[in-house]
């Protein structure tokens, strides 16, 4: 009796296996990601990264992955902290200065708030590289260089692409009220877009609300033929909103993730503009290492740009694999 039950259970569990996806597929993918051990014999320096990311942010997770990979290779002890509130972000930088780290990587989304503390780091002899946002301020604050994407330039690339695709009326969906970089993206797009561009503010911390807002916008104005989201997680939501509203608008997005790569491939999304976050983290650590080791600095005093890279259906297949392992 018991044996029969056991056999039935075993059979059920075997029959219940999935031949696709899940943990096993992830492990296979993980085997392809880089890892390894230090490739250099420089001292074990500590580099700290402080960003303006909120909790649980996909984008910054990829930046971290890049930074950690470079840290492994360069024999670096990499530490990371973040706070979306400017005041607390500057306090975090201060606490790394107190610890006398060997290098700092800082994002300047709120440059005015970070100015004093970045100058303080340099006074303490800690080299600083800025990433992601703050290209204009980076040099003025005395940072070695800036690695990232110029948001206005990225916006302009979107505007050009929309024009090329013959769009007439687009909506730019801003999911974080108070983010200067987001405003620059939409303004840049509006500048080069030959059609009409409107802004739509949504609450990015509340996905159902994002969907409802986009949906009502599309219902209110059927002539809208393009929706541009500013973050990868919002693109699939915009697609859902489009289906619900019965609209024909094309959904395009800034940034990339696994869902966006899939959407590009199956045609539910038009194009994506990527700023290669992995590169931002990786290069920041690597350039700091080069500076400490050999006093080298890339960029000739100009920001090192990691974007914009326009990604369409033809690139999507290759990128899917990379997005799933968390490096694109």
């Amino acid at each position: 009796m018991a044996a029969a039950v056991l056999a039935a259970l075993l059979g059920a569990s075997l029959a219940g296996c999935s031949s696709t996806g899940g943990k096993r597929a992830e492990e296979e993918r993980a085997a392809q990601t880089a890892g390894g051990k230090a490739a250099v014999h420089t001292p074990r320096w500590t580099f700290a990264m402080v960003t303006h990311s909120g909790d649980g942010d996909t984008f910054w997770d990829i930046v971290q992955n890049g930074a950690r990979q470079a840290a492994v290779k360069d024999n670096i002890n990499f530490v990371y902290a973040h706070d979306k509130e400017a005041q607390r972000q500057s306090q975090l930088v201060q606490s790394y200065i107190d610890q006398k780290v060997d290098g700092l990587i800082v994002s300047l989304a709120k440059p005015d708030a970070m100015k004093d503390v970045v100058l303080k780091a340099e006074k303490a002899g800690i080299p600083v590289i800025t990433v992601n946002s703050g290209a204009e301020e980076s040099k003025a604050f005395g940072a070695l260089t800036h690695i990232g994407q110029d948001e206005t330039v990225a916006g302009e690339a979107v505007g050009e692409e929309l024009t090329k695709r013959g769009k007439k009326k687009a909506v730019c969906v801003l999911h974080e009220q108070g983010n200067v970089g987001h405003e620059q993206r939409c303004d840049g797009a509006a500048k080069t877009f030959k059609g009409q561009m409107q802004k739509l503010y949504v609450d990015g911390t509340n996905m159902p609300d994002v969907e409802a807002s986009i949906e009502s916008k599309l219902q209110a104005d059927p002539s809208i033929d393009a929706v541009v989201t500013l973050g990868a997680p919002f693109a699939p939501t915009a697609v859902q909103a489009r289906e619900q509203a019965g609209s024909k608008a094309e959904v395009d997005t800034f940034d990339l993730n696994a869902q966006v790569a899939k959407g590009l491939e199956d045609g539910s999304l038009g194009f994506a503009v990527d700023q290669q976050p992995y590169l931002q983290g990786y290069q920041a650590v690597d350039l700091l290492w080069l500076y400490k080791y050999n006093a080298d600095m890339l960029g000739g005093g100009k920001p090192v740009l990691t974007g914009p890279q326009v990604i369409t259906k033809k690139d999507a297949a290759a990128l899917q694999e990379y997005t799933q392992r968390g490096t694109r």
């Binding site: 909790d55 002890n77 530490v79 990371y80 902290a81 973040h82 509130e85 400017a86 005041q87 607390r88 500057s90 306090q91 975090l92 201060q94 606490s95 790394y96 200065i97 107190d98 610890q99 006398k100 709120k110 440059p111 005015d112 708030a113 100015k115 004093d116 974080e176 009220q177 108070g178 983010n179 200067v180 405003e183």
Partner: protein, 355 residues
């Protein structure tokens, strides 16, 4: 505490603090009855813990950073604690800080006025927010949780809407090249060097506010009113306590400190992001609750709120000094809140049993 317990001989406050000033007891007994005792024990525990696990934690420079982080929460935790002793909440406190900074900055810039004019206008406007909260509460008789949730959303919207309307962007324009900025910075955001260690002026503001609030609570009639209103508003009214005035005053206290914090933001960072401040109201409430203020009102202290803010500062920066993964930070914060509150409850039970 029921209305029947209220003393009728003279308007002495019902509630814990009133009794203990009338009786003479040993020092140990008196300490056991203090609201902040539990939090002091908690603070010592957190301090010792991080001293052991985080090597840079005990450096003077690190402690000054921790104190600064504590003061930015602590300045607001003081009036929020008083308000909680008075039995009310203020969920709009976090965004009010940013509102205050925005008003100050934009008024100076748009009017091309000396920045002190903006600072003054900001004080008036922020106090009006406080009065609005208080008047809405006392007029409508709705719970303060609901009232201030409403004003929280309204202020969040006003912050963004007005900033976009006036500045055209989501952050204010720089006013650091305007007259009066240097003196404003000296008052609200300067650094003192004490024994080679950099001390932010907010720490001084914080300590002064704690001292003033403690004096109000323990040595003035207004302090008795606050305990009475929080303990039992009907009984307090029956013995002649001006309940409405006390409540409005408490909300104005929160507004006043929001103004100080807001000016600090402005003069230390120059440009203000209109979206900041959301969620901070809970940090102030946490600091006050950890410091022994009861959620139901009538019991607590300003010193406790200061200790609560200090615990918060130690935990938030200690995790960084220990180089732990910050993903777990919120979890620790929540666990600490529960532990500290449990400790408070336990200490109070022991104290009550001992008297």
């Amino acid at each position: 505490m029921s209305a029947a317990d209220a003393p009728t001989r003279k308007p002495a406050p019902p509630g814990g603090a009133g009794d203990e000033r009338l009786l003479h007891r040993s020092l140990a007994r008196r300490l056991m009855g203090r609201p902040e005792l539990g939090s002091v024990v908690g603070a010592v525990a957190v301090f010792v813990f991080f001293s052991l696990v985080a090597e840079p934690f005990l450096r003077p420079a690190s402690l000054s950073t921790i104190l600064y982080a504590s003061s930015t929460i602590g300045i607001m935790a003081v009036p929020v604690a008083l308000l909680m002793i008075g039995g009310e909440f203020d969920l709009s406190a976090g965004v009010m800080v940013v509102s205050s900074a925005l008003v100050s900055s934009m008024f100076s810039y748009q009017m091309t006025a000396n920045t002190w004019v903006g600072v003054g206008v900001s004080l008036l406007v922020t106090l009006c927010f406080g009065v609005l909260n208080g008047v809405l509460l006392t007029r409508t008789r709705l719970p303060s949780f609901v009232i201030t949730l409403g004003t929280f959303f309204m202020l969040t919207g006003l912050n963004l809407g007005f900033t976009k309307l006036i500045s055209g962007t989501v952050s204010t324009k720089s006013i650091s090249d305007m007259e009066g900025f240097a003196s404003g910075r000296a008052v609200f955001a300067s650094h003192l060097t004490v024994g080679g260690v950099d001390i932010q002026i907010t720490i001084v503001w914080w300590l002064v506010l704690v001292a003033v609030a403690t004096w109000i609570l323990l040595r003035t009639r207004a302090g008795n009113w606050i305990f009475a209103v929080g303990g039992n508003a009907d009984a307090a009214r029956a013995v002649g306590v001006p309940v409405t005035r006390t409540r409005i005053g408490l909300y104005m206290g929160v507004a006043f400190c929001a103004w100080i914090s807001g000016q600090h933001l402005l003069f230390s960072f120059d440009a203000i992001q209109s979206g900041d401040g959301v969620g901070n109201e809970f940090l102030y409430i946490i600091a006050a609750a950890v410091g022994g203020c009861l959620m139901t009102g009538g019991f607590g202290s300003a010193i406790g709120a200061a200790v609560g803010a200090f615990i918060f500062g130690m935990a938030s920066k200690g995790i960084v000094y220990a180089q732990w993964n910050p993903d777990w930070y919120k979890f620790f914060l929540g666990a600490m809140l529960l532990l500290a509150t449990l400790l408070n409850a336990w200490v109070r039970k022991r104290a009550e049993a001992a008297t």
